[in-house]
Symmetry: C2
Subunit: 230 residues, 2 copies
DNA sequence: ACAAAAGTGTTCGGAATACACCCATGT
DNA sequence: ACATGGGTGTATTCCGAACACTTTTGT
């Protein structure tokens, strides 16, 4: 008879969360990193995250850690994957549940942890050397973004409430890695009816000011909460 | 200064895997369940799975447990999600990493664990009462399947190497919950070039025998290993 | 002969593509 | 005046949707 599972054989392990927090800023998609204050990898850049407490879910843990380390609150978070390689953390076996989060462009808050951790947004094309396997995690996350764009309304999680067409288009171009035709792009969204024009245009720009639009959530077919990743 | 993370504060917890193993059989999509031999939920149906060992990854654990409990080996597995509700298991805190697996229709093996566990395929439309939160997990999995169909080639993971058009179409209809037009369906796949006809037809069927086809993997754009789920 | 599912073509409308010029603003 | 990005229309192609009858087999 094969090994029976009885208590005592349950290998306990530490469980952590990591957050890949994205935003759109200065025509780029950026990811939020913090500089580690402790060993291992002290001084290196890493994803915000930490160990899951006794009575919290993984998502609660991610929200808490992200808030403690970066000051950002109540982000919209989605589970990305769970990493279970026994040797990924030099301290011992640590499981990591990875979340992807979207921070609306524009409402840039304080960006400082309660203990003055260094926190910084990095363009996903210019990432620094990073702790653990965090580089790989981010690459996985970016790949997943491509699929997200197919989900109606996902791109808007990265934008401010009001946005111009060129901001929206740049997100698609950044993620898809390809240039898109302005006229066709505009037509597509106008026909879909999911965005509506506002009576407001850009100010103080050295070119013809662009009109602002906003997402019309009533027109979305899939509810936004259920946002499938990959 | 906020709570520092120092060893001793790491809450250790048990980590398990669960597998949602799907196949296509008798015009239905089915999921593989086992009858639990031990408390809790002794005698109830449950997803195959068990605790992650000291030196294995979650996927290795899932493969091992599925093999031990059902006899199926080397399934293609994809991570679905991780469940971290502190109260989901009456024995205490157990994290569960859920995998979705595809078992090729046709090569139906022994289907018996090494200790004569009861193992059975259930139509996803007629599921029994189940242990833990396994009902909910399966529902999540089925939803994810819809997205999978958009990924070129995903449906073929459920079919035997050779299959008829109506088998392929039935999978789409089952998952999408809608009837599809035969002619349009056939045209779509023929134009895509990802399937090729074989010189072989069904035998001993009381109707005009259907031709067999097979997937032409060279024509797939996305590599099959990287099969994004949700 | 009958039942059951396989197989086959055409028409139509909407969506995606390709493409080039003028417009409004700040400096 | 110039530099910068905003904004617009048309022709063409491609794809998905709708739709009904004949064919082959086992019983």
């Amino acid at each position: 008879m094969a090994k029976k599972k009885q208590s005592g054989e349950f290998h306990q392990m530490a469980v952590a969360t990591d957050g890949v927090i994205l935003t759109y800023d200065e025509k780029q998609i950026k990811v939020l990193l913090i500089k580690r204050r402790n060993a291992p990898f002290k001084g290196e850049w890493a994803l915000p995250g930490g160990f899951v407490g006794n009575k919290e879910t993984a998502e609660e843990c991610a929200q808490r850690e992200i808030c403690e380390e970066t000051g950002l609150k109540k982000l919209s978070l989605e589970q990305l994957c769970t990493i279970s390689d026994p040797k990924r953390d030099p301290r011992g076996r640590v499981l990591s549940i990875v979340f992807m989060g979207f921070f609306r462009s524009g409402k840039t808050g304080p960006l400082a942890g309660d203990d003055a951790t260094e926190v910084e947004w990095f363009s996903i094309h210019k990432l620094p050397k990073m702790a653990f396997d965090h580089s790989k995690i981010i690459k996985t996350g970016i790949k997943g973004l491509k699929n997200l764009l197919n989900i109606e309304g996902a791109a808007f999680e990265l934008l401010a409430e009001k946005f111009t067409f060129s901001q929206l288009q740049t997100i698609y171009e950044e993620v898809l890695g390809a240039e898109l035709d302005k006229r066709n792009f505009r037509r597509r969204f106008m026909n879909s009816g999911i965005i509506m024009p506002l009576n407001e245009v850009e100010k103080n720009v050295p070119y013809k000011p662009g009109r602002y639009y906003k997402l019309d959530r009533r027109m979305l077919k899939s509810e936004p909460g259920l946002m499938p990743i990959f």
